[in-house]
Symmetry: C2
Subunit: 305 residues, 2 copies
């Protein structure tokens, strides 16, 4: 079982308006409301591939209840860890003219007690789990070190631990010995202070990460170990909605690594899932036929038993 922690889940709202204009009252023509957060996107992709997952989400208030309902309606097994305050909302405003504008709430103030509760939930799940994924931002103001004991405990229990985090939480995950740290290039540079990708990856490896996988968008994906770098190209000529493509790529990486794939195949699987997500209009979904098309026949991901 893959346990997926989303430390700061969200209600992702998209408003379509006729034309974005500051200082006006705008009639919202259509509203989309979806449970959001990188970990949730990943859990959806993993579940669609038949992999057993269990999502762990701090949730609070009416927005938290709504997320819980929606996650259950998606058929994702879940444990909610109660938090005070309202689970955050993100509002993305789109029209046919300008780039989207995104407003991101900071998320509820999360206390140490909540993180300890979450750690307790994770420890109880260790027996049935082979993989732990910690994915997405932490609430604004949260101690980034909160992720360290979750990761250290899971590593000690022999799990594959994948940390898709940013900033100080990424550094904390590396120091706690995460099997894989998976930032994108900007996140790596921002967290480590190294503009050079190899230098940044080495900084995480030096802290204790087992492997550093760096997504480069349309320039592919790379895995850094102490001994070197394995790189694969992105799937060419794929256009669509890139939202959630990185999460799908991480899901593909996790599936391949759990299956014992070697690094080149794991990276190609990640690239295939990322590209197949671009073909779908919403985050958290992949075009499964495209995944198979993007992988050569010998590289189909194993069907889960």
């Amino acid at each position: 079982m893959i346990v997926v922690v989303t430390p700061n889940p969200a209600v992702d709202v998209t408003y379509r308006v006729d034309e974005q204009r500051i200082g006006t009252t705008q009639r919202v023509r259509s509203v989309e409301r979806r449970p959001g957060g990188k970990g949730l996107n990943m859990a959806r992709v993993l579940t669609a591939e038949g992999a057993p997952t269990h999502s762990v989400l701090p949730l609070g208030g009416a927005a938290g209840s709504w997320v819980a309902e929606q996650v259950e309606a998606l058929g994702l097994p879940m444990t909610a860890v109660p938090v005070d305050g309202e689970t955050r909302t993100t509002v993305t405003v789109v029209d046919d003219r300008a780039h989207p504008t995104m407003f991101g709430e900071p998320g509820p103030a999360t206390t140490l007690a909540t993180w300890q509760d979450l750690g307790g939930v994770l420890r109880r799940m260790t027996e049935d789990a082979d993989t732990l994924v910690v994915s997405g931002s932490l609430p604004v103001g949260a101690d980034p070190g909160a992720v360290a004991p979750w990761i250290a405990d899971a590593v000690a229990a022999g799990l594959l631990v994948v940390a898709d985090l940013a900033g100080p939480a990424l550094l904390a995950a590396a120091a706690a010995g995460a099997s894989v740290c998976k930032p994108n290039r900007d996140e790596l540079a921002e967290a480590t202070g190294h503009r050079d990708e190899r230098d940044g990856a080495l900084a995480l490896l030096d802290r204790g990460a087992g492997l550093v996988v760096v997504s480069r968008g349309h320039r592919g994906i790379a895995a850094h170990s102490r001994t070197g770098v394995v790189e694969v190209a992105a799937v060419p000529d794929v256009t669509g909605n890139p939202t959630g493509a990185g999460d799908a790529a991480t899901a593909g990486l996790v599936l391949a690594l759990r299956d014992g794939a070697d690094l080149p195949l794991a990276l190609r699987t990640a690239a295939a899932f990322g590209a197949a997500a671009v073909l779908r209009p919403v985050a958290g979904e992949v075009d499964r036929a495209a995944v198979r098309r993007f992988l050569t026949p010998g590289e189909r991901p194993r069907d889960p038993a």
Copy 2:
């Protein structure tokens, strides 16, 4: 008892950002979330004045549950009429530079059955009520005629019926014989097609309204009957937050009319409440000391028994 119907209540969210910029990702520095809707603002003012109210709200989804909780926390007696879908949210984005930008969701699709349920609730309340207020927009796509039977039934039962509506719903309320129609000048012109205020008011009176009270913002307030117009000036030199001032003015009008005030006093009371609301930073509250200051000593509203 004053029954207050808010046909399209809302979760009113205010996001403070550093600087509004289209096409960017903006970190929300602070979030305020309040139950909104003109009728709710009115009910809060009426309740603060000691008048017995009962709010009737179509509510749905997690947002509807949240509104119900908040309304109860405010101490407002309430009956929720369940609707499918999510109660609407409005998002207002503010910074220190530009005018606020407001995004208004259309509200849930409300079926005829919901309106009939609401009418049933109102009829059961008629025995204990002396006043019915119907206040605020209808959900986008709702039949504006839905308000007609509520108003006609209440008029037939001898209640004072105040319709603070706009567009075709305002016309429907007049035709149903509302005791008072209370648009602002823009709403009156838009609903009747008459730019001239007197012509617009006569159009509503011709349809069946008992009285048409028109709020003119800083230019005061007027009451039109077939025989003429009574006007009062606004309270001068009041600055602050005008949001909800119109709702407070309507609340003052209702209080005065229930108390048997003559029209000039009722209008002065409305103007005093409107101005006293401007002095408070949030909608739904008035500076009660200011109300008394703005009315001359002989005009204090009666303390409710």
